[in-house]
């Protein structure tokens, strides 16, 4: 037993085993990720002779994954800067959906609204959702995380879990405890083009079409602007950043604002794409998106997007082939695999915690 402690030197292994181990830790996760699509691809080829069904799964997976990517960005930004898993983030996303649905009612958007009114109305809704979720996220940070910044690390994680439950209850009070169907404003299942037997629907176009510009904007903001530079500096070394005249508190608030904005946008897309909303969607989405963020390497923006898309595909394949009731278990199994075998993620560097 004692020999297996962390500090003990690794026992000398034959060179072949060492090489296999190195290969596994380098590419093992990628191999594990390819298992599902490859297995079902072969099955499709044998039974149906083409890969249309798999391609269709992957297409749905990508548009779903775009939503998870937006949510995952919030996790990864916040973790990058204060090393906290913002457990309430999924529920901020859920309330974003609820705000969207509520606002359609107020604006009078229905199935018979003309195209111009619809585009204008949804643009307004998008802005309001982003603002609402962003503000909510900033407020949560102010109330639940900032007072605990010097406390042991588990303390803010526990308040985060607590806030997650509070927000879920807000959701229950708002729209009740069961899934609520909302009107399919954009007719998300309507096919726009068919490429190689795969129908690209309006929902797919919307989800990818909103996500890509947002991600580009965000990347540009973080890499080019002064505030983005302040965020990166704070993430690297908060004390040094403070000494250089950066207001660390404001920068952290800004990070939560941006994370919330992304979650709000994701909330609107989710409502339009899935046409059902309910209070529990945030919990599931939160864990899926967190898995995505970890998969890409937490703290890494590019990684969060890639992770979101991959997890979307896995989820879709699992929904379609294994059965939707097993999807959470499949996603969580991947989460455990990643945590155990490659905690630094696919593209990320080693974080202080996971090392």
């Amino acid at each position: 037993m004692e020999a297996h402690t962390e500090t003990a030197p690794a026992p000398a292994r034959p060179a072949v085993l060492g090489a296999v181990g190195k290969f596994l830790s380098e590419y093992g996760l990628i191999l594990a990720l390819l298992v599902l699509p490859v297995a079902y691809g072969i099955q499709d080829l044998r039974t149906e002779g083409d890969l249309t069904r798999l391609a269709d799964n992957l297409k749905d997976g990508l548009s779903n994954g775009a939503i998870w990517a937006l949510v995952a960005l919030g996790y990864t930004l916040v973790y990058g800067i204060i090393e906290l898993i913002n457990f309430a983030h999924g529920d901020v996303f859920m309330l974003g959906s609820f705000v969207a649905v509520g606002l359609w009612g107020t604006l009078g958007l229905t199935l018979v609204t003309g195209p111009l009114g619809l585009v204008l109305g949804l643009a307004v809704t998008l802005l309001v959702c982003m603002l609402a979720s962003g503000t909510l996220n900033v407020m949560i940070e102010r109330v639940a995380y900032r007072p605990l910044r010097d406390a042991p690390k588990l303390a803010p994680l526990i308040t985060a879990v607590g806030f997650s439950f509070i927000l879920q209850n807000v959701g229950i009070l708002w729209l009740g405890g069961s899934p609520e169907g909302v009107s399919d404003l954009i007719r998300s299942q309507q096919t726009l083009v068919t490429i190689g037997g795969v129908n690209v629907t309006r929902g797919d176009v919307l989800s990818v079409g909103v996500t890509i510009p947002l991600v580009i904007l965000l990347t540009a903001f973080i890499s080019k602007s002064r505030l983005g530079k302040a965020m990166r500096a704070t993430a690297q070394d908060p004390e040094a950043a403070r000494l250089m005249g950066i207001n660390v508190d404001t920068t952290i608030s800004l990070t939560f604002l941006i994370g919330g904005i992304m979650a709000g946008a994701a909330g609107l897309i989710y409502a339009l794409y899935q046409t059902t909303v309910w209070f529990f969607q945030g919990f599931t989405a939160g864990l899926i998106a967190f898995t995505a963020a970890v998969m890409g390497g937490i703290g890494n923006l590019k990684g969060a997007v890639i992770g979101g898309l991959i997890i979307g595909c896995i989820q879709q394949i699992s929904d379609n082939r294994i059965g939707g009731e097993w999807t959470p278990a499949v996603v969580f199994a991947y989460l455990v695999l990643i945590m155990v075998f490659r905690p630094q993620g696919l593209v990320g560097e080693e974080t202080r915690e996971a090392g």
Binding site: M1, E2, H4, T5, E6, T7, I82, E83, L84, I85, V143, A144, P147, L148, R149, D150, A151, P152, K153, L154, A155, P156, L157, I158, T159, V161, G162, F163, S164, F165, I166, Q168, N169, V170, I172, L173, G177, P238, E239, R242, V248, D249, I252, L287, F290, V294, G323, E325, W326, P328, A329, F332, A333, L335, V336, M339, V340, P343, E353, A354
Partner: protein, 394 residues
Amino acid sequence: MTAVADRLNRLSHPNLVIALVFLGAALVFPFFLDSGATQMQTAVQALAYVAMALGLNLIVGFAGLLDLGYVAFFALGAYTMGWLGSGFFAGAGGGEGVAILVTGPAADLPGVHANFLLIVVAAIVVTTIAGMLIGLPTLRLRGDYIAIVTLAFGEIVGRIAINGDQIGLPGTAESLTAGRQGITPVDKIKLPFLDQFQALDLRPWYFVALAMVVLVLIVNFQLRDSRLGRAWVAMREDEVAAVSMGVPLVKTKLLAYGTGAAFGGVSGAFLASFLNTVNADQFQFSFSIFILAMVILGGLASIWGSVVGAIALAIINFYLIPDVFNDVPSKIGLDFDLTELSFGIFGFLLVIMMVLRPQGLIPERRRRLELTEGIGTGDTTGVGGPETVVEARG
């Protein structure tokens, strides 16, 4: 010699007197109530939750490993009871049923019916192994990553419980679980020299639960002051320092998971029999948080705190919210029941406790020092805070 003196010292500690007073009160309490009263129902459940909170406190409080998937052990304990003490495996023994050290009517029914004490032992074995297995992948991880991995395991166990009716056991016509239908009825507890327990006579249940809690408490105190308990605390305060002082990390962590899980398993087996059902809907993430809230409310690492926290939250959840204050919102003109909000209330408690009184209602001495003077918080981020934390460590 000093060991004996220590032990005597501890025995004469005023805490022990208080403990005996409370135990005495707990012993006479049921005789003031009707044996089938709702308050008795609440009291029995509260005691079962005390055992669980003590188990979780061991993992989170003593060893500092935030476990968000404690519900997995409740589930495994309950399913052990369901598998070994009900008619669920209807085909067992060729449809005749299998009875293991059981007398009375249950022995002739179909299904597997084992002696309750045997089931408890089985539940302990199953959950200890499960606890260690779940702990294994988290060994290399620290802090919040552990929380997420345990949460993921808890959810996987919950999913298997829900979808277990689709999983056939190889070679039989049985499935793994009954899913959302639930395994019901479950055998009532039958102890040697006592009659079979009855659903409407709650006093025997109460005393069994009380005995369970007293046992768990004794184990807890013994463990806390043992070499292992000190290793847990050392590991919690500074893992690197603990390792360099010779604490075997793997063994220490796995024993924390295993022991904490076993308490949950025993309590789960008891609750399955008491509630007369093993239903997959019981095993959700919110249950883990319910137990965690008890530990936090009482004070992390504080044994008496966990007891008080568990009793308080059980009373709030099973008595105050549904029976006393449920119609308050409708009285002031709001259109909902308070029961819908119970988990929001627990979430609120978690936030408030952590922000205003992180040491809990009955703080543990060492823990209070950590929080107020900043000692031992080896993994604080120190973002934007005063320098005291870093300096106190140096």
